[in-house]
Structure formats: C-alpha cells, structure tokens
Amino acid sequence: MTKRAAKGKSKRPASSNTNDASATTAAAEPAAAEPAAGAESKQTLPPATEPRQWHQVQEGRRKKSAVPEGLWMQCTACTQMIWRDRLKANHRVCPECGHHYRVGAAERIEQLCDPGSFEPVDESITSLNPLNFTDLKPYPARIEADRKRTGRPEAVLSGTGFIKGRRVVLAVLDLTFMMGSMGSVVGEKVTRAIESALEYDLPLIIVSSSGGARMQESGLSLMQMAKTSAALARFDDAGGLFISVLSDPTTGGVSASFAMLGDVIIAEPGALIGFAGPRVIQQTIRQELPDGFQRAEFLKDKGFIDRVVPRGELRSEISRIIDYCGK
C-alpha cells in the first residue's frame, strides 16, 4: 500500500505544490499501530543550500496546507484517479473501490451530525507536561506542533449534536493529533462526555481512531483507560446507550478500554482494530500475519464487532440503533 502511495505522489506534477500537503494529513498515512507514537511528518525536504531549522520546516508545511487542493488524486488502494471534490462529497471513501480514507474529527462530525447542530464542549482543556517528558523532542513541542498543524487543541473533539434529529453526546478522536493518543486530556474529555450523557440521559456515540495510550504521560495515560471504563460502568448501570464506532486504526489503550465497551460496536470497512499493533505481533512471533488480520471484517468474523458499516451509511445506522434502544 505504501509503495502505491509513493507512486501516486511522484505522478503529481512536480512544479505545483498545490495538491500535496493535505493528502498526507488524513489520507496517506501508513498503518502504524503502536501505542501512541508522536505523529511526526514524513515529508521529504527540498534540497537547500543551508540546513533548515525545525521550526522553518513547520512553517513551510503550514503555508502549504493553506493553499487550495489540486483537483485530482490517485487512490492509494485501487490507483484510480479520483476527483478530490467527489472524494470529499463521498465522505472520503474512494468512489471506485470503496477504500476508506482517514478523516479528522471536525470533518467526521460534519459527516455525522445534522448541519450546524454540533456544539463543542470542554475545548479549553489542554495538556500539561506532568512528567517533563522529552524523547527526541520535548512533549510540549510535539503538542504545539500538532496544534499548529491541525488547528485543534487536543486529540478529541466532544460535544452534543443531532443525528437525523436525535440528540446525542458525541466524542470523536482525531488521528491527526498525536495519532489520536489518549493522555489526561483525552481521558478527561471522554469521561466528561460519558458523564454528561448520563446526566442528560442521551445516547453516547464515541468515534475512535487512535494509536492507543499516550506514552508521554505514562502511568497517567494508562489510568485514563480505567477512568473511562469506570465511567462507562456507571453509564451502563443507569441504562445508557453507548454506540462505539471504530475507524482505522483503533489499537492499544483505546481499544482495550472504552472503544470495545459499546452496547453496539460498529466498525468501518477495512479498519485496523486490535490490542497490539501488527508490527509488534510480527516481531514477537516472527511469522507472517494472515491476510486481513485485525481488520474490521476479521473482528466481525471472530465475533467482536456487531456490524461493519460503510461510512456513508453511519448516520442512518446510528439513528436506527438509537430508535431500537428507545432513547
């Protein structure tokens, strides 16, 4: 898949920078599924006479993504040329082969909710650096870079909205922000979403796409798994309806907590879902993994997912389930 993606990129006219940047954000990321790798851009730098500083690279990237997109792109799955507007209108699903591209939280909410009905909450909650964590780059620098790049304060967008006229509490993880990893902020916002669904007696929808728990907050991230699951226990006791929607990828600490606790669990076709990432498994057992391993259809066959639903039908499927569960 990655090979094709590279081919697709090289086919684009080299002179115009107009169509490149946005494709790398949501669509063409290789399937990485370790717990919470810091989302680092993999763009190749143009040859420069003087070595550029890191912040300059970021600036350049930001400007690029502000430029309007090109008209066509090549599908990374079927190599057909797709008109970008058509892709967007088709919920970022390839009209030719049905490949589901990854979408950010804001666009996902646009796709799911009745127009203009979504009201975000808790947007002012931001990460601290409780452990003073520095790997190859300090944690606050990673956060800041992703904030600039995505324009989002953190890796989850939560609030209330309407889906086909049914009021719901909605939390959507954003893969473009530090691989959608769950640290204190994501844990807290998801927990608050659960608590408000309980308080206002509304159905709860969580759309997951995440590499797992955020390593930069270590034990605190781990405890968010228990925190969100405990909140769901209360919600469950109170008879609340929780529909968990899994998109590509949902792994690690997110899949091993709230994502797998839905009353109804829906996954998008082809989504990678599992506890350990495929690379970790491969390194451990030193064997080739079977075809389609850890994909949504595989999990459905194994009995861990209730339905595999194409993105275009999510809205109607969710409202249908809400109607059945009487909320």
Binding site: P130, A213, K227, A256, G274, F275
Partner: protein
C-alpha cells in the same frame, strides 16, 4: 551496562551495580577462610579476635554500602536488574509464604485455562480471599508454559469469572501483578485481547467487594491494569508500573532500543514506585528487604502479608457503597491538564 541478559536464569546472577559489594564480599570471605584456618591450626587467639572484628566491620560496611546503592538506583537499573532479577520472588513464592490453603480455580469456561494467570481461594492470616495473580515461571519449561507471565484473553476472562465469584460470596480480592504486558500474538487478537482487558476494567470498577492490588515486579501496560483496578493499590519498592515497557517506548519514540535509549525511556516514563506514588497511581509503597526482595523471600513475604491483612481489614470495615464511590473517585481524579 549489559542488561540484555537480565532474564537469564543464572544462579550466580549479580547486577552490575553490585560490583563494589562483591569486592567487599570477597574480602569477608578470605578473612573467614583465614579464621577457619586459624581455628584448625594453633594460631594466636589474639589474631583471630582481630579478624573477627575486621569481619564485623566489613559486614557493617557491606550493609551500609548496599543500602546506599539500592537507595540510589536509576530507573533502568530497577527495571532491568531488580524487578527482573531471576531470583525475585514471584506470585507463586508469595502464595506459598503469604497464603495458606490455596485452592486453585482453573479456566474461563469459554476457551481454556491460561497458565499466565493464577486464580483461586486462599487464606491470608485469618482473611479468606480470592487470589488473582500473574504467573511468570522460574525455569525455562515453566516460563514457556505460562508464557513469561504474558496473559491471553482467556486469562483475563478467568480472572473476571473468579472475581465475580468472590463478589457473590463476599470475599475480598487480592491481585498480584507481575507482567511485561498482555501477550501480543495472533491467537490473543483472534480471541479479543482488547475486549477482555476492557471488560475487566469496567467490571472491576463496579465489583461489590473490596479489591486490593499489589504490583510485585513488573506492571506493564494494559496487561497489568487488566487485573489492577482496585480500592487500594500497593507497589513493592523495586517494582515498575507504566503504560509501556521502557524497551517498547524506546523502540517507538527513540526509534531504537539500546541500553542507552532504554535507560532514557525508563527515566522519562516515571515508572518507579516513588514516581507512581507521586502521580497518585498507587496508594502505598511496600518496602523490600535491604538489597531487594530477591535477597530475602521470607522477609519480603512477611512485609507483604502484614500489609495485605491490614489493608483488607481496613477496607472490610467500610460500607460497600462508600467503598465503590471511593474507588470511582480514586480513578476519576487521576490526570493532569489545565482548564481556563
């Protein structure tokens, strides 16, 4: 630092940082030999006396040195050479010494019996409890049999089945955590590793019986947390507990796992007992014998037993509703963020 072979079951295994102790021990040994020689021969009683005081002095020095070394260990030293010391007491050792009348319960009633998690009734002092513990194994055969303490979904489901049994009959639950993490394999994924852990987290948060958890060695990620949602979480002094193992973290964030990056990751992850206590992830540090639990299983078990009995009795005195509310609040408040 050659930490790669830290899992080797060498009987003569000594951590790198104990080198200064070894020279002292050699000195003590040679003096003792001389003393023995003197006893056989007809040497002056005076000389034997000086040797004896010398030995006593050296032993005091040895003890002080050991205390000093062990109170200044780096995070990676703790992980690689103490928490994973081949002679460190495991759950089975504690079961033998801390508990009596252990009645093992096998199987999850769905798929199989995971040897990596050990469950059953037991008595600790006068308390009847349900034990849920990771089993790591001591020799190669046993380790392979129980997968080095890395559990499969059926292990977590067995744990839950028996914890629910404990709830039904009002037994407190004691969980002993010692795992690098849940097993990453094809079978584990096929049988729903993520779902099994997630369900345990949710159900443990609402079990109507007291739960005590102790991180006795390694507390790696969701695999540890899957049996560690509790009212009171203790942690042995030289155990580690974190979202990922230092090697895993180094491989991802530092792009390679070498002793240097592992050590940097271990520091960055704040995984020692002291750090976890500061973060509010655990409630109490259970002290180990000087020089680590592997030096003295007896004493380590005694301390653990006392702590467990005290904690269980403390929890049993509280009304269950209050206890569950506290269990929720304990988790609810963990996290660090700013809100304007």
């Amino acid at each position: 630092m050659s930490a790669t072979s830290s899992y080797g079951a060498l009987s003569s295994y000594r951590p790198e940082f104990e080198k200064p102790l070894m020279t002292l021990e050699q000195e003590i040994e040679s003096l003792e030999d001389r003393l023995a020689g003197n006893a056989n021969g007809d040497a002056a009683a005076g000389e034997s006396e000086t040797i004896r005081t010398q030995i006593a002095d050296l032993k005091t020095e040895h003890r002080a040195k050991m205390e000093e070394i062990y109170s200044n260990l780096g995070a990676w030293e703790i992980v690689s050479q103490v928490a994973r010391h081949p002679k460190r007491p495991q759950s089975t050792d504690y079961l033998r010494r801390v508990c009596s009348d252990f009645c093992q319960l096998h199987g999850d009633r769905h798929y199989g019996d995971d040897a990596a998690i050990l469950t059953g009734f037991a008595r600790i002092g006068s308390e009847k409890v349900m034990i849920v513990a990771h089993r790591k194994g001591r020799d190669t055969n046993e380790r392979q049999w129980c997968n080095f303490g890395c559990a499969h979904p059926e292990g977590y489901r067995k744990a839950l089945k028996n914890m629910k049994l404990a709830e039904k009959f009002g037994l407190p639950i004691v969980s002993l955590v010692d795992t690098k993490g849940a097993y990453p394999g094809i079978g584990a994924e096929e049988r729903g590793q993520a779902e099994a852990i997630a369900v345990n987290l949710r159900e443990m948060s609402r079990l109507k019986t007291p739960i005590v958890s102790v991180i006795i060695g390694e507390g790696g990620s969701g695999g540890a947390l899957g049996i560690a949602v509790a009212d009171q979480v203790g942690m042995l002094q030289f155990a580690w507990y974190s979202v990922i193992s230092p090697e895993g973290c180094a491989a991802i964030l530092w792009k390679q796992a070498t002793p240097t990056t592992n050590s940097a990751a271990a520091d960055a992850l704040h995984l020692t007992a002291t750090e976890n206590l500061k973060l509010g992830i655990i409630d109490e540090i259970i002290p180990e014998p000087i020089g680590g639990a592997h030096r003295d299983h007896e004493q380590a078990s005694e301390t653990l037993q006392k702590w467990l009995v005290q904690t269980i009795q403390g929890l049993k005195r509280q009304r269950i509703e209050a206890l569950m509310a506290k269990r929720y609040d304990r988790l609810r408040k963990i996290g660090s963020y700013s809100e304007d």
